[in-house]
Symmetry: C2
DNA sequence: CTCTTTTACGTACGTTGTACGAGAATAGAG
DNA sequence: CTCTATTCTCGTACAACGTACGTAAAAGAG
């Protein structure tokens, strides 16, 4: 499982071959088509046949640009990770590493909301591509004032990303549930029935108090901000 | 997508049918076979054919016990969630909600290390089954002293679970990388090459300082404990 | 031109989830 | 008992998937 990252990332596009038929497509075009498909219809719509149809190629032609589908997913992840680059370049470390890290978290969340398949695609371990490494570089620079050792800084970044992914997954599933009335209602009926069985008093009370709106209306990212702040403010440099 | 949770969880085993052939297998046996398969060979080894072979049934017989494979995954998740019940029952809330929550996090981590496919299986949204709801009930009871409203308590539990899942995924991927020497070496070569390109000074330094062992040897769960403590100590009741 | 290299992609295979329907088992009704 | 309704079993079959293989086409080198 997995492809040599050196061959995949470092030798691309590689020295132009001086002989042979010219490529009719490009890794970028294929990746963009796959991303567009995933954005529009979800990750499960990304099949080799559909991606090929999207770019107007035969199915097997894709394999000249990515050795297998898992690699194509890696390319997709790194491609959208590139959307973080301009913001990173525009916001160099300020010296306040907590604020910098929170800003990174918000950017990651926005990216994942734009590409809701990203948390799922990130779930399987992959070697970071150039854009992901640029993100990591930016985060490491932000963490410089902490004086932590390298492994810990990398771990913090991985944990932050996993945290944001988990939260966004929760956000979009909640949004999907409240958008599809039928499914949401069935789940509500089920939970109400469980709460009424007498064995789940805490759940019953939680559901009863869950409907209440907060006194002051809050922006949709408020819960995320609260959790993010808690996580990062809790980080210590000892 | 998805099955009515009411039918799935609440009417099982349901009133015995008074006529017709008697079931030759059971939902529990099938679920256990699937869990055993996932424990031994990973989630991707869980195919309807292999599960059927494991229980000695024909493939299509499984569909009398679960309407589709996704539902079987739900059954697997809830089944292993049942392993948390004894510990929950043995450890009622102490009044120190932070300590209680940390204990829950450690139990969840241990569960996920026993079933490394669990973080992945949890990633796709599903309605909680009875065992998951018992876990939630336990966590809500622990959170009672916070006086938070129901939605927030539920959100905290979901976020905690997502956090633990993310961390365990990281843990097992690290363990897998260091176990397979070939793959780990290829990645190390790649990262070293990137670090040497001059455009990633922070990464270069982080990798250089990453090899150093801590002065005092620490147990394997130490990083997890640190992150968990930071997350939970950061929670506030305002 | 021929030779060599590289890309394009039709065909085909193995594996997957599962729809369908025919047969077997069980229990009540007559 | 037989008849019939009901429920479970599971062989067969199909569409969709990732992709191995091989042939045809293109393009520079000689």
């Amino acid at each position: 499982m997995g492809v040599d990252p050196h061959r995949l990332w470092l030798s691309h596009p590689g020295p132009q071959p001086r002989r042979g038929r010219r490529p009719g497509y490009s890794r970028e075009a294929i990746t963009e088509a796959a991303v567009a498909l995933a954005d529009a219809e979800g990750l499960e719509a990304v099949t080799m046949r559909r991606v090929a149809a999207q770019v107007g190629a035969g199915v097997m032609s894709l394999y000249n640009y990515a050795p297998d589908k898992e690699t194509l997913l890696e390319l997709m992840v790194d491609h959208v990770s590139g959307e973080l680059l301009p913001a990173s370049a525009a916001a160099p470390p300020t010296g306040d590493w907590r604020a910098d890290l929170k800003a990174i978290g918000h950017l990651q969340r926005a990216l994942m909301l734009r590409h809701p398949w990203l948390p799922t695609a990130l779930a399987t371990r992959r070697t970071p591509g150039p854009n992901a490494l640029a993100s990591l570089e930016h985060a490491l620079a932000a963490l410089r004032p902490t004086g932590l050792d390298g492994a810990t800084k990398i771990e913090i970044f991985a944990q932050l990303t996993a945290f944001v992914a988990g939260h966004v997954r929760y956000e979009v599933s909640q949004a999907a549930a409240s958008r599809s009335a039928e499914r949401g209602a069935a789940e509500a009926r089920y939970l109400a029935a469980v709460a009424a069985d007498g064995h789940h008093p805490e759940l019953a009370e939680a559901l009863a108090t869950a409907g209440r709106r907060p006194l002051a209306p809050e922006p949709p990212e408020a819960p995320f901000t609260r959790f993010l702040n808690r996580l990062i403010d809790g980080l210590d440099t000892d």
